[in-house]
Amino acid sequence: MGKLKEFTSSSLFLPVVALAVLLVFNAIFVDGFLTIQMTEDGRLYGRLIDILTRSSSLVILALGMTFVIATSGIDISVGAVVAISAAVVCNLIGGRGDGVAETPMALAMLAAVGVGILCGVWNGFLVSKLKIQAVVATLILMTAGRGIAQLMTEGQIITVYYKPFAYIGGTIPGNILPTNIFIAAAMVLLVVFIMKKTSIGLFVQSVGINPTASRFAGINVTMVIFLVYAFSGFCAGVSGLIESSLIRAADANNAGLNMEMDAILAVALGGTLLSGGKFYVGGSVIGAITIQTLTTTMYALGVSADQLPVVKAIAVVIICLIQSKKAQEMFDKWKAKRAGDQGLEKAVEKA
């Protein structure tokens, strides 16, 4: 009983239960949801694997977003940065029909991630140095970013025919799982390792709870905030690689569309307060997978991609309300009042 209570009050409770509900729903209503098969060329295949693959770029975005939100900031430019990164990598490799890369793929990938970091650095500079509100600072890149991506691709959708490019979002021959799952796992492990071995996590949390007090405690607040946005840009850059590789093309209009909402939703679902402070990397990862499962379920139910935000927007508001202190106070008051009424009734009965 004690264990159960510990679990229900832990931060992982909400995302795990949500994920379990979705999985059970899918297992009942979708045929062959749980089956995983081996294809002839030795790859694992199934709906569960599909969800994991699809959620990898979201997991990476959610990692970056977790730290940004922990410093009580927000980064709504991630979707646009994904588009920019995708445009860079596809532009450099080039859309030559004979499948020859114009630039070595490793170089193109590095450049794309580099541009992602650059975008993050720009956001970080605006927020930490110039003290602009995070929403507005990242809003600039959110709208201007897609314009930049459009200019890079000259308004066209660049399709890449270079074979190895598909390996990022697909399977390298000989592996049983798609590469992007490994990339996401590596990023998560990297973050967990850094959290365990350094005190950066503590710094981020402290800045999120009270920046002034953190400064007096000797933490370089400007630097922490700056790094957090740079890291978010890095994550968006990596996710741009995966997103473009999945469709083997750069689509400046649709790459990473609405992903900022998904990332925020994943972080909030994972138990991190949107007002900053304590954060949960594990929660965000499970949150991201849950969101992707929700998306897949909605698609299976016949909801189209541009109608899906309705469901997600409602989910965000509900999670915000659950997190809100005021709502909790009101609920407690209501409970106390009800308990009081019942007590009164009992007393009346006794009398």
Binding site: I74, I76, L126, L130, K131, I132, Q133, V135, V136, L139, I140, L141, M142, T143, A144, R146, G147, I148, Q150, L151, G155, N258, M261, I264, L274, S275, S304, D306, Q307, L308, P309, V310, V311, K312, A313, I314, V316, V317, C320, L321, S324, K325, K326, A327
Partner: protein
């Protein structure tokens, strides 16, 4: 001389003066480069083309003044266009009633957002971001394709030209100018307007002064929702369609216009005539790009983003300069 300069920078109209100067310079540059800029109709077209943006900017200025933000404006505009087009095309609802319905929808949605934000003390950006996604999704639920408005009365309304001697303006532009006028009067000369500024300056102080903080905040988001719906009417008068991607990114254009016009993002400082010039500057840039002919329309977004940056940085410096000035003057008066 330096004293005057200091005073000018510290004055609350400094931003406004810079904006007007910038507009005049841009327009003069336009006249020098392209002959067509001279025609008065080009100037009047700024109002016709940007009628919706002017109305949205007025609404968003209210939310910025109390230190909040409303990211849902563009999506609410798209939803209103879509509902209007749907009502006029597929039902027999008369035009007047259809417009009334979408205005009420805007009011209702704004009030709901305001209530959630204020009652549960949530960050405005996250709720209005959710609102933005909600409305865009809902627009797609109504129709994923473009619905054209063919209602004869509405089409005639859209093509009505109001002659002004040297040129003409549209019905939408008249609505926009009226909205500006009413907003300027409400903010400058009413109790409600002063309460808005007081909340933006310091919410706890305003609350301790006994001002109706809760009611005013909900009202402000309601006004923003109403303005978005009204802008939806003006927008559909230009486009004559309902489409899922109408007004995409308009929230940034509106915030940029408001900031360029001298509204402080931290709240408490703002000036409605300034917002008009903020919109006009964007309009001039767009006209430049149209006259130039070869530049892609995406440049507008990038230029507006850059302008927004410059003005925010300028604001940061002005605020710093002001606090230095005030601390200096207080030290001087203490030493006397």
């Amino acid at each position: 001389m330096k004293h005057y300069l200091n005073q000018l920078v510290a004055s609350q109209y400094f931003s406004f003066v810079v904006t007007v100067l910038l507009f005049v310079i841009l327009y003069a540059a336009g006249i020098m480069t392209y002959k067509g800029f001279m025609r008065p109709q080009v100037f009047l077209n700024l109002f016709i083309d940007n009628a919706a943006l002017i109305i949205v900017t007025v609404g968003i200025t209210f939310t910025l003044l109390i230190g909040g933000i409303d990211l849902s404006v563009g999506a609410v505009l798209a939803l209103c266009c879509m509902v209007l087009a749907y009502l006029l095309e597929f039902t027999t609802v008369p035009v007047g009633l259809a417009i009334l319905i979408i205005l009420l929808m805007g009011i209702g949605f704004g009030a709901l957002q305001g209530y959630i934000i204020t009652k549960f003390d949530l960050q405005p950006f996250i709720i209005t971001l959710a609102g933005m996604f909600f409305c865009r999704g809902l627009t797609a639920v109504i129709s994923r394709d473009t619905i054209s408005i063919t209602n004869p009365f509405y089409v005639e309304l859209a093509s009505t030209r109001i002659q002004l001697g040297v040129g003409f303006i549209s019905v939408g532009a008249v609505i926009a100018l009226l909205t500006l006028l009413i907003a300027a009067i409400v903010l400058g000369y009413t109790k409600f307007g002063r309460t808005v500024f007081a909340i933006g300056g310091n919410e706890s102080s305003a609350s301790l002064m006994g001002l109706p903080v809760f009611r005013t905040k909900v009202m402000v988001y309601t006004i923003s929702g109403f303005c978005s719906a009204l802008a939806g009417v003006a927008y559909s008068l230009i486009m004559l369609t309902g489409y899922n991607l109408h007004g995409l990114g308009m929230e940034m254009d509106a915030i940029a216009s408001s900031v360029i016009g001298g509204t402080l993002l931290t709240g408490g400082v703002g000036f409605i005539p300034g917002t008009l010039f903020g919109v006009l500057i964007q309009g001039v840039i767009l006209t430049f790009i149209t006259f130039q002919g070869t530049l892609s329309a995406w440049w507008t977004k990038i230029v507006v983003g850059a302008l927004l940056c410059v003005f925010i940085v300028m604001q940061a410096f002005i605020t710093e300069h002001k606090s230095k000035l005030s601390s200096k003057s207080s030290m001087e008066s203490a030493s006397k």
